[in-house]
Point group: C2
Chain length 219, copies 2
DNA sequence: TTGCCTAACTAACGATCGTTCGGTTAGCTT
DNA sequence: AAGCTAACCGAACGATCGTTAGTTAGGCAA
């Protein structure tokens, strides 16, 4: 339509295994796209139904309410994000440097792979009632807590140097969040390159020591 | 109401001189608060009218449509933001280091001083038609272009070291944007401290040289 | 007082909102 | 062939949406 798009991505990707032509999945993908592009309140149930190739009444055969659709998207999104960063950090070495790189690469990777899911589950979360949002809030806190723990540990060991660890959490988390809005496969840098760049940014932001062993290479 | 607030700020601050009890200003401040907290589509004209202490019809004596209210908020917000960073950079010295510090401090300062204005003018902008959003888009490009120019200049002079200047623009801009969502006067750090911290983060992210003259002090 | 202007109001328009109810279809089991 | 189940749809409910037309109240000039 117009120049002012909410996010650069144009295709709604949901987790593998959930996309298929089954009714419930079609509705979820359609809602993902419309909620991402227009916001939850800006996309009507009729819009979602039309995009899913279904009549409005059919949606209520799969979801109890419009809010339940959003709750499911938020839960799936935060679940995948937390799963990604947690796995990446666990599989990295014990060094704080490695952990931050693993976290940021996974974090940015989620926002480039699932931009619409990231936008919806982060910027529409406030609509959910306390009950429907509870599961998502837990995951959000876990993700943020993990990053905070990595940074605090690195500061204590002297690897990182920041005045306030939480401010670094906010900065690193914030710059990663925004990636979902401007990244698209058509961007001049690949998702891998963006993730690498942001990981380097995070290391610099934390004033991280150069790697302990030889193979050092500056950004 | 619930835990899940869209942003931490609770009071709607508009630019000085626009707040007063005059009808048009009351409506604008009320719309600012509700659009920030619930989103443009999530806040009805009746809600805005009630918050402003007037009847719905009165709003149309001051603004042609609901969209015009949003357009005005977006314009004011981007105008103030651009004015702030531009002035700060111009008043700083010619050194790239000083310019980045000035830019980031002003950028973060805007987001801590006018969090609701920042949230609305950045995350509801996509609703505006091409016509109504045109003025705002120009200002947005100017702001981003200014940051990009500062970084490019610093890279050319060897002060900064980044592989892709635009990626640094995205990272620095993104981390500043998010401040509007979590900052509140009740936060443990003052707005000044947050701005200082983010300026330091930006310098580190760009791998800036230590200041050329003596008075160097590490973060 | 009269007339006018501004600003706010009451009341309502048609459209669209989320949601529900009852019925229809398609496919499988027996 | 008969019966069951799950999925889907047509039609409509009351509520709320953005917006407008017409009216009323108050201040000021004549």
């Amino acid at each position: 339509m117009s120049i002012n798009r909410r996010l650069a991505a144009t295709t709604a990707r949901l987790l593998p295994g959930l996309n298929p032509s089954e009714g419930s999945g079609r509705v979820l993908v359609a809602a993902l796209k419309l909620f991402a592009e227009r916001g939850y309140a800006g996309a009507s149930v009729r819009d979602v139904a039309a995009a899913a190739g279904v009549k409005p009444a059919t949606i209520y055969a799969h979801y109890a309410s419009k809010e339940h659709i959003l709750a499911e998207l938020c839960r799936v999104g935060h679940d995948e994000q937390y799963r990604g960063v947690r796995t990446a950090v666990l599989e990295s070495g014990g060094e704080s440097r490695e952990q931050i790189v693993a976290y940021v690469r996974a974090h940015v990777g989620f926002h480039t792979t699932y931009p619409m899911l990231a936008v919806v589950s982060n910027s529409e979360l406030h609509v959910l009632s306390e009950d429907l949002g509870a599961a998502t809030f837990v995951l959000r806190r876990e993700s943020e807590g993990l990053l905070q723990d990595i940074i605090k540990r690195g500061v204590q060991s002297g690897t990182f140097k920041v005045v306030d660890p939480w401010l670094a959490v906010a900065a690193i988390g914030g710059m990663g969040l925004r990636v979902a809005y401007w990244f698209s496969p058509a961007y001049k840098l690949s998702a891998e390159q963006v993730a690498d760049g942001y990981a380097e940014f995070a290391l610099r932001l934390l004033a991280a020591d150069r790697p302990p062993v030889a193979r050092a290479q500056a950004g």
